[in-house]
């Protein structure tokens, strides 16, 4: 019926919203503001049946516009946020938190801290209990800022101590911040989630005050508690801590195992492979080979000379010992169809030779073993190397030629 085409309030506002959306996506802040001005009267209408109400939309859109618009000041922004806080009590803490984030981005640490303290003291009947999660976050961020103050005090202390003066007041303040920070940071990391920055800061505090046990426990929980989402950084932090503590290779290796599983292309894989290669245990050495091959599957590692030298070293060692050639065969099996084009093309040979001799050396060695002396990569690089009269390339050529049968056994 013709009534479907009637232009009414809701349709008009829906259209307005789509114009705002277009303007935002194209970063046309003035235009977005123009349409938002027309949209705000939706606040006077009842939208209780909609999934997202106009007050939330106005908050989010207005924040974007005010943040990016050239003529908007931080003062205006804060004023707007205060208005938004009054608009929806169910969102109060969320709005506070986002306001704080913006203040932090703008470098207004003190204002951010004030807002956090204010928000912390907010009470509103049953809403306080409902918004418990947001409250915890607010406390955590306040803890973070306390940590930041602690770090500042610590620096002052150490600067002064160089002069030989010990400032008691500063020290007391520093400890005060520590206590405040520790309480809140400890709370938040109990809840399953991704809390990288909180964990780092908390561990830093614990280490400074010598509570290594607590630090270790925290990091273990963070990395291994299955309730927490899989987080590569958790393992990295644990590994770094253990390294700082001078732990054994065994525990360092076990810390990196899961990291390899979830992020085979992580930069620590080089360290991992290095440790594994040197291990006396056969299984570990086997794993090492797997690790380095897996890392080099990724495009970001193509030109990593260190990685190639790790692989080259291990391959060379296996070939010389003539033991465990089947390891290489296993790894090569799934890669022989695409690694040649991916890593060992003639074009790459030329480019690698031009840009990085060490890289081309490592790659050439691997290529020569895996693809035989006839492979174009090896041929080109070794030829260039010999032409340039570089000793190691001559050695390389000899080595590959000598061990060419290996290639035949691998590829068979």
């Amino acid at each position: 019926s013709s009534n479907e085409h009637k232009l009414n309030f809701k349709k008009s506002k829906d259209a307005c919203l789509s114009y705002i959306q277009d303007a935002l996506l194209q970063k046309q802040w003035k235009r977005a503001a123009e349409f938002l001005t027309c949209f705000v009267e939706s606040l006077e209408k009842d939208y209780s049946r909609e999934h997202i109400g106009p007050s939330e939309m106005i908050w989010r859109i207005g924040t974007e516009i005010l943040w990016h618009h050239s003529q908007s000041s931080m003062k205006e922004f804060s004023c707007f946020m205060e208005q938004m806080k009054t608009l929806g009590v169910k969102r109060y803490l969320k709005v506070c938190l986002e306001h704080v984030f913006h203040l932090l981005c703008n470098g207004q640490i003190d204002e951010a801290y004030q807002n956090l303290s204010l928000a912390e003291s907010w009470r509103f009947g049953e809403q306080t209990a409902i918004q418990d999660k947001e409250m915890k976050l607010i406390q955590a961020y306040r803890g973070l800022l306390d940590y930041y103050s602690w770090a500042k005090q610590k620096n002052i202390l150490f600067e002064n101590s160089e002069d030989g003066f010990s400032d008691l007041a500063v020290e007391q303040e520093m400890h005060g911040y520590f206590r405040k920070a520790a309480v809140n940071l400890k709370e938040i990391i109990k809840i399953p989630g991704v809390w990288d920055i909180f964990v780092k800061c908390y561990v830093d505090l614990l280490e400074f005050y010598g509570d290594h046990n607590e630090a270790r426990q925290v990091l273990n929980e963070y990395a291994y508690n299955s309730k927490f989402p899989a987080n590569p950084n958790a393992h990295v932090y644990l590994y770094q801590f253990l390294k700082r503590q001078g732990e054994s290779k065994k525990s360092l290796i076990s810390a990196l195992k899961i990291l390899h599983d979830i992020v085979p292309s992580h930069e620590l894989m080089i360290d991992f492979n290095t440790m594994l290669q040197k291990s006396k245990k056969r299984k570990k050495r086997r794993l090492g080979l797997e690790v380095i091959f897996a890392a080099l599957d990724y495009a970001g590692w193509k030109e990593n000379a260190k990685a190639w030298s790790c692989l080259a070293r291990q391959v060379k060692q296996i070939v010389i010992s003539e033991k465990h050639l089947d390891w290489i065969k296993q790894e090569w099996n799934s890669r022989k169809d695409w690694w040649p084009a991916f890593h060992f093309s003639r074009y790459l040979a030329k480019r690698n030779w031009q840009e990085n001799k060490s890289l081309s050396y490592g790659k050439a060695l691997v290529a020569g073993i895996l693809l035989g002396k006839g492979c174009k990569y090896f041929k080109y690089v070794s030829h260039q190397g010999c032409k340039a009269q570089l000793k190691r390339f001559r050695m390389l050529k000899k080595f590959v030629n000598r061990h060419n049968p290996v290639y035949l056994r691998i590829s068979g």
């Binding site: 013709s2 009637k6 008009s12 114009y19 802040w29 123009e34 009267e41 006077e44 003529q71 004023c79």
Partner: protein, 577 residues
């Protein structure tokens, strides 16, 4: 009114009217033979006009307001609207004589005033006894009917008035709460007996009055002026006097949040004319603006089509008899005659003529010999008089302008401001919240308005009759008025006929309008793009749906090809003319 001739004696243009309805010159008192057509206004025959006896009308309520009835509100609305029309140049007669009388007649017929027992009484007893629930869910509550029957038999105004004071004390949970006395009753009334007044209906009143006086404003233009803000509609209630407090159910009656559509206003107007038992409206003759010949001329100009096409529209009009006085003039209550939509009809005639001349099947109009030659040489083919009209070139020029205008219109639609300064609230409890919200809205509008840059809210453009204009002085050749149709016409037996021998019907069989409300059902994908474009052009100009115009086109085609259809119903839809 529009008598601008110079006086024969003194050459002044300063005319007045004698009692006999003749024009006389005010400067030299020369009386002419020219008479003004007397507009007949005595259609309220033999009615006993009695003023409503309100008894003791309580002037002061708790909040400084006084009692008011819904119909008073509507009267104010109509007054504002007709004053706006006057400002647009409509004759002052319309307000003082025509609309006023229509309104009085309506009040009388719907028993809201000027009769023995106004229906508004019943609500006073109602307000106290009702308790909660949604008004819309069940309009026919037994208790209400019971109360109505009671008051009709006993109607003691004095005792009823004692309940009036309790209206304002009714708790907020009851939905019958309203600032007006009879707001709740208004919404609950059985519509079949009485034609209940609504905001869209105010426009029906206006249109009816305009039609009676035969003003050169079509319904589509009227509605466009409303949307453009030249005629008050949205938020008219903010002009109500202070003592008329608006709240609760009044909002449902007076606060609209949608623009009325043509169909709605049009149908209501006819209903109204019948309800009021109006006689035959003044004749629509060939010299009237609303006659298809005149309107076609206007739309041809606006659509940038050649003036020569007017001959063809006149021919079609004559052939199917839609230029006859009896066809065009409104006879209220006559169900056998088709109600005429003057503007849509004129647009549809032009569409039919375009189909006759150009076929509009996405092929013929594009690939005529003329187009082919000119596309090769990139010039207009001239004959001694001027360029030949080419559909494709016309399409490109018009489409470009149309797209620009359409885009602008779409943006304007997204930027409508529906609310006004006067805050609306359903009950006193909501009042402070509503005021706070309003304040916040104003703050935000200021804040973001400043950030909108140099784009200010543009001043309301002056109302204009033409939305698209094309000037012959443009050297870029974008005006097609003077183009000739010779390229597509041929001479046969002394008559000019189109070279195109074919015609395709929009539909072979018309639907039954009474059953489904339409003559045909338009779906864009089933028709050629050219046809869709042409419909779209007029759809934009008249602000109606393309299907609406399509219906008229079907109607005209069936009249035009009546005989052939009767014979050849079995065959495919392409006919030889």
């Amino acid at each position: 009114r529009d008598f601008n001739e110079r006086c024969a004696q003194c050459s002044e243009v300063n005319w007045g009217l004698t009692d006999g309805g003749r024009f006389y010159c005010r400067s030299c008192h020369n009386v002419t033979e020219r008479t003004r057509e007397v507009v007949n206004t005595d259609f309220i025959t033999h009615s006993r006009v009695q003023t409503i006896s309100k008894g003791s009308r309580k002037q002061e309520k708790n909040d400084g307001g006084s009692e008011w009835y819904v119909c008073e509100g509507f009267q104010l609305v109509l007054k504002k609207q007709v004053e706006a029309l006057e400002a647009l140049g409509v004759c002052p007669q319309m307000k003082d004589e025509i609309l006023c009388n229509f309104w009085r007649c309506y009040l009388q017929k719907s028993k809201q005033a000027y009769c023995k027992r106004p229906a508004g009484e019943a609500v006073k007893a109602l307000s106290v006894c009702e308790s909660s629930t949604d008004v819309d869910s069940d309009p026919e509550r037994p208790s209400l009917l019971h109360l109505l029957s009671l008051s009709e038999s006993e109607g003691d105004l004095q005792t009823d008035c004692s309940f009036a004071s309790s209206v304002s004390k009714v708790s907020e949970s009851t939905s019958v709460y309203s600032g007006s006395v009879d707001g709740s009753l208004y919404l609950m009334k059985n519509q079949k007996e009485n034609l209940r007044m609504t905001m869209p209906m105010t426009l029906s009143f206006c249109y009816m009055a305009l039609l009676w006086v035969r003003e050169p404003i079509t319904l589509s233009e009227l509605l466009r002026f409303v949307v453009e803000g030249h005629i008050p509609y949205l938020n008219v209630f903010q002009h109500f006097p202070e003592k008329m407090k608006l709240c609760g159910l009044d909002l449902k009656i007076f606060c609209v949040e949608s623009w009325p559509v043509y169909e709605e206003v049009f149908n209501k107007m006819h209903e109204l004319a019948a309800f009021l038992d109006l006689p035959r409206f003044p004749d629509i003759t060939e010299s009237c603006f609303l006659h298809p010949d005149m309107l076609c001329m206007k739309y041809l100009m606006e659509a940038n089509l050649p003036d020569e096409m007017h001959n063809w529209t006149c021919r079609v009009v004559k052939k199917i008899g839609i230029g006859e006085v009896d066809f065009l003039t409104l006879m209220p209550g006559n169900k056998s005659t088709r109600k005429v939509k003057y503007d849509v009809l004129a647009a549809a005639i032009i569409v039919v003529v375009l189909k006759l001349l150009f076929l509009l099947d996405d092929h013929y109009e594009c690939f005529s010999v003329i187009s082919f030659i000119s596309s090769q040489t990139k010039v207009y083919i001239f004959y001694s008089g001027g360029p030949y009209f080419e559909f494709k070139k016309w399409y490109e020029v018009v489409k470009h302008s149309l797209d620009v205008k359409q885009k602008k219109l779409d943006e304007e639609r997204a930027k409508y401001l529906w609310r006004c300064e006067k805050p609306l609230f359903y009950s006193v409890k909501n009042k402070s919240k509503a005021l706070k919200r309003r304040q916040m809205v104003v703050n935000l509008q200021n804040q973001f308005g400043k950030l909108s840059g140099s784009v200010q809210r543009a001043e309301k453009p002056n109302p204009s009759s033409f939305q698209l204009s094309w000037s012959e002085e443009n050297t870029d050749g974008s005006c097609f008025h003077g183009h000739s149709l010779k390229g597509i016409l041929q001479e046969k037996r002394g008559l000019l006929t189109p070279m195109n021998p074919d015609y395709w019907l929009c539909t072979v069989k018309l639907c039954n309008e009474r059953l489904c409300g339409h003559l045909a059902h338009y779906r864009e994908v089933e028709f050629p793009q050219s046809y869709h474009f042409v419909l779209g052009l007029f759809s934009f100009l008249l602000r109606v749906q393309p299907s609406y115009i399509h219906d008229e086109v079907c109607m005209i085609e069936h009249k035009l090809f009546n005989k052939k259809l009767y014979k050849k119903l079995k065959y495919n839809t392409v006919l030889r003319k």
